[in-house]
Symmetry: C2
Amino acid sequence: MNNFEIDERLKNDCHLLGRVASCHLLLMNNSLVPWFILVPETEQTEWYRLEDEVQASVTDAVNWLSEYINATYQPDKINVASIGNIVKQLHIHVIGRFETDYCWPGVVWGAEAKKPYSAGQVQVIKSALVDSLQALFTPAE
Amino acid sequence: MNNFEIDERLKNDCHLLGRVASCHLLLMNNSLVPWFILVPETEQTEWYRLEDEVQASVTDAVNWLSEYINATYQPDKINVASIGNIVKQLHIHVIGRFETDYCWPGVVWGAEAKKPYSAGQVQVIKSALVDSLQALFTPAE
């Protein structure tokens, strides 16, 4: 899909890190929790409507990213969700959660607190993804 | 896993409907939205840690249940999530959401409003699942 564009709202809320499997990988601009978002290049807005091979590829990306979050941040729980009530473009949240974080045990959606990343912090995360995921991750320019 | 028991908190909050693929199918006791929960028989608490064949089977259940929710309730969006911050036992929420529902466009987790089902309503839902999913669904006693 050559004309695929990431939704403007996701672009405004996140840093674009690169690609994992068939998905764009975004970082929610909130350093209070490690909150990543996968965006497959599809016009479908519902998870169950993805073609089998796309669903399998997105599942791979969720698995690799979850492993990465677990190894890097050692969270108490990983939250995975496809919601899309506000931004319709299909996107999957993969979030490391801690019993000490700002909205535990509640969910992050709708919780107001936010602490943006510095440019340097984003670069560190991108480099860590390159080191850990290696060929599975293609960093954005 | 012969000794598998559904978590007490899920049992208290939900009606047990039956089984879809390798999962127990629960209905959250809140008739304000069609809110189903799939519980695979596993000790793992994280989605990405499921063995490949279990993950594939749970994915089938999510797909079939989403199709069912879409056909039966015609929601504006389906929300799918594995959270588990409070109940650790792995469970996947599959929820039909409406632009007119009680907490749209917010998420259902943490929203307080609730309207329990009558026993008759639960039976109607169970019968509808039998009719629609046929061999894919095994109703509970």
